[in-house]
């Protein structure tokens, strides 16, 4: 009996990880190899810390977006939700002297609520997620400006700034937060009933309804979870900067989508794993880091990042097509 289940277990893991993830993982390792070869600074402790911290933020939003991509949806307001949560949390701490735990919970709740609002609008009116979240992107960023009045909220208590800039067991604390979020969401998508429902809805919402899955509830829940994760990233960023401002999270949209897609999560839904979001985020961070180390003109860095992302996605699609033939 033990033998059988062990064999079956290895059979199960194979196609899931080794099969689907070997491409992106190889790409990540090759890039790290290239980095080590071309730049003596690449593997220094200082640079690795910088990269790991970057990975913390991009990783969390990539996991959040990955969850929605698995549904076949996309949330372009995810950065604005991050900002909103960070600002609400900072405002409660600084202006209203809330206890840090309550303020952080309020920040997570704000993110979840904002995500749930997106999900509710999309399911109730049966609208396209891209269209709805372009609208709410403007709403949430507007709220961010209104709450901060365009000013920076400063003076966050030390109790919370530790979560942004402290280290624990020689890793930055945000990295631990990201890893916790990753394990949690990986488990959610692979071993829970909710995860199965998520994949089912992403594959075919009609088929899901016919087998008795409440497609709307699954969708709204996924949006709320993604919103809470974005909120976590936004708050960590505020804690890292010792302040909150309306621009928090604005640059996260591109990596949040690019990372899971590079990691093999299809934008059409139902294909890929949360591993893909993490590995894709790793690739994005290494690319960004190499561009800086390589001395690319500051004003051209965005151009180069964008080009590399497009090329990576195109290469992946090409290889897939060749595999099929």
């Amino acid at each position: 009996m033990a033998n059988i289940s062990a064999a079956a277990a290895s059979e199960r893991r194979k196609p899931k990880f080794a099969g689907a993830m070997s491409g992106p993982l190889a790409a990540l390792l090759i890039m790290i190899g290239i980095g080590a070869l071309v730049s003596p600074q690449f593997l220094t402790e200082y640079n690795l810390t910088i990269m790991s911290r970057e990975l913390a933020f991009i990783g969390i939003v990539a996991i959040a977006q990955g969850l929605l991509l698995l549904l076949g949806d996309i949330d372009v307001s995810i950065g604005a939700i991050a900002g909103l949560a960070g600002i609400v949390c900072a405002k409660l701490l600084v202006d209203f002297d809330f206890h840090p735990v309550i303020a952080i919970l309020a920040g997570l709740g704000t993110g979840a609520l904002a995500g749930a609002v997106n999900g509710l609008i999309i399911t109730i009116f049966n609208l396209n997620s891209l269209v709805v979240t372009i609208g709410t992107l403007s709403v949430f960023s507007g709220l961010n400006l209104w709450i901060t009045k365009g000013q920076t909220i400063v003076g966050l208590p030390e109790a919370v700034t530790f979560f942004g800039s402290g280290t624990w067991l020689s890793l930055p604390v945000p990295v631990w937060c990201m890893l916790a979020a990753f394990v949690l969401i990986l488990a959610l998508t692979t071993i829970t009933v909710f995860g199965r429902k998520l994949y089912a809805v992403g594959n075919s919402k009609e088929a899901a309804r016919i087998v008795g899955i409440n497609e709307q509830r699954v969708r709204v829940t996924a949006y709320a979870i993604a919103g809470a994760l974005a909120g976590l990233a936004g708050m960590l960023m505020c804690f890292r900067l010792f302040s909150a401002q309306a621009s928090i999270g604005q640059s996260w949209l591109l990596p949040s989508i690019a990372a899971p897609v590079i990691g093999g999560i299809a934008t059409t839904g139902g294909i890929g794993t949360i591993w893909g979001a993490l590995i894709g985020a790793g690739i994005m961070v290494v690319i960004g880091n190499l561009i800086v180390l390589g001395g690319v003109n500051v004003y051209l860095q965005q151009v180069v990042t964008g080009l590399i992302v497009v090329v990576a996605v195109a290469l992946d699609a090409m290889m897939r097509r060749m595999g099929k033939r």
């Binding site: 829970t192 009933v193 199965r196 994949y199 016919i210 008795g212």
Partner: protein, 497 residues
């Protein structure tokens, strides 16, 4: 004067030989039927003939631009007019501005050749499936003076009358000296059309006939490699038991005042034209569509018409006719497809019981003889028949009392059909399940049902008991008896079998 000659065509994909040493010759003015079960290599062969794939071995001799290909899936611009669709890419005349009248005049020429009835300025989304099928051929006509037309299962969603019309068009093309490759797995179509027949099985040509006397039995034997009795009956023979579901005066958006019942251990057929409201009635009972009136009793208690989830829990299951879009979860494995429908029993405290999941899915694969190397294969890679076996197996796992099967054998080959009929009979007889079989295939209803109800234009217009089931009684009811002489198709979007 040979139009196309393929010799020793071999094509391998990783792990499988899709085609092995296939020979094919086409003469001008003949219809060549290619038949075979799903996965026999028909589509691969077409893709090689049309140049989409390169063969690994063998030679293909064919004139350039001689082939026009109409794929199985309808591929049209829904929001452009019929004429624009035909004349695409619209650049024949080298003019800069688009002249709509000119375009429609040009299109009309091809449309009349194919006896199309649509208005050239109508939007494609508003025309019938049959007209769309003809439109695809018209487009081929407009684009090239082809000599060989390849049609890949063009009749899959057409009614009998529409099929006859299509065949008339094919006869006319043939008379002009054009050749046709016709891919199908419907035997009567082969008998009606063929000059040559090539039967494929597992990538090999296992039967070929030109001018010989062949019959349907011969084709089936070649296709499946075994004898299948085409006349066999699959009706449950154990007498039916109590009424399990009794529907009274049910009314919904596209049907009204529908009453019927179904008993334990019987197969109740639901006949009617496509669009008559058959599926909608059963989907409403299942809780997928809203109800505007009527009641039902299930196992002696009032039925609530709640949601699919509630119906399934109470033992009423519906399998959609749209297997690809409303049935399977294409990119999930067989195992995950099984689990998605049985989450309640395969989980504990919100977590999947992986052992139970694995055990259930391998049992379904074994019990229903699903042909697959493992239950970890993505379900989309299985043939239609095997997908259907997984879906039926999953439904039965929930031990339903009433099972609605909506076109369960659409697009499924003879062999798998036979297996599904045998399975239906067995579960009706042994588990005393009530099966409601919605079907557009007359033969299927005649062979499998203990009783048939007929739907015409959103109303029940007949109930045929077992001793009166015949082709004539069913057809007369389906077409609404006295309406049958009149012109139909325009107002109700229905047409005759």
């Amino acid at each position: 004067m040979t139009l196309l000659k393929a010799e020793g065509i071999t094509k391998r994909f990783p792990g499988v030989v899709a085609l092995a040493k296939v020979n094919l010759t086409i003469q001008p003015g003949e219809v060549h039927c290619i038949v075979g079960e799903n996965g026999a290599g028909k589509s691969t062969l077409v893709k090689i003939l049309t140049g989409l794939y390169k063969p690994d071995e063998g030679t293909l001799t064919v004139e350039e631009n001689a082939i026009a290909y109409v794929p199985q899936e309808i591929n049209l611009f829904d929001h452009l007019s019929v004429a624009e669709n035909i004349m695409m890419p619209l650049d024949g005349r080298g003019q800069v501005f688009f002249n709509r009248r000119q375009c429609e005049r040009d299109a009309l020429k091809f449309m009349s050749e194919l006896q199309m009835e649509s208005d050239p300025s109508a939007l494609v989304k508003s025309i019938s499936v049959a007209e769309k099928q003809l439109l695809q051929i018209a487009r081929a006509l407009a684009n090239s003076a082809f000599k060989l037309l390849i049609l890949d299962e063009p009749t899959a969603s057409l009614t009998k009358r529409e099929i006859e019309k299509l065949f008339g068009v094919l006869d006319a093309l043939k008379a002009q000296g054009k050749s046709i490759i016709f891919i199908t797995h419907r035997l009567d179509e082969v008998m009606r059309l063929h000059d040559q027949v090539t039967v494929l099985r597992n990538g090999e040509v296992v039967g070929h006939s030109k001018g010989q006397q062949i019959d349907e039995e011969w084709i089936v034997r070649q296709m499946t490699g075994k004898d299948i009795d085409l006349e066999a009956l699959y009706r449950p023979t154990v007498p039916a038991g109590d009424v399990l579901l009794d529907v009274q005066g049910l009314t919904g958006a596209r049907f009204s005042d529908v009453s019927f019942n179904v008993r334990a251990g019987e197969i109740l057929g639901v006949a009617g034209l496509v669009g008559a409201g058959r599926s909608e009635i059963m989907q409403t009972v299942f809780g997928l569509l809203p109800r505007s009136g009527g009641q039902a009793t299930y196992l002696g208690e009032p039925w609530t018409f709640g949601s699919p989830a509630k119906s399934i829990r109470k033992g009423v299951i519906y399998l959609s006719e749209e297997r690809k879009t409303h049935g399977i979860f294409p990119h999930l494995s067989i195992r995950q497809n099984v689990a998605a429908g049985l989450l309640r029993t395969l989980s504990q405290g919100g977590f999947i019981r992986h052992g139970a999941e694995r055990e259930t899915s391998s049992r379904i694969v074994a019990d229903y003889k699903v042909k697959t190397p493992s239950d970890q294969v993505r379900i989309v890679n299985l043939s239609g028949g095997n997908q259907q076996k997984v879906l039926i197996g999953r439904a039965l796992e929930a031990a339903p009392r009433v099972l609605f099967l909506d076109e369960p054998t659409r697009g499924i080959d003879v062999n798998a059909k036979d297996e599904i009929y045998i399975l239906m009979k067995r579960i009706a007889e042994e588990q005393r399940m009530a099966i409601v079989l919605i079907s557009s295939e007359l033969e299927e209803l005649l062979k499998c049902c203990n009783r048939i109800i007929t739907v015409y234009n959103g109303r029940l217009n007949g109930e045929i008991p077992e001793d009166r089931i015949s082709k004539e009684t069913v057809i007369n009811a389906i077409i609404g008896a006295d309406h049958s002489g009149g012109k139909n198709g325009n107002t109700t979007n229905q047409s005759v079998y």
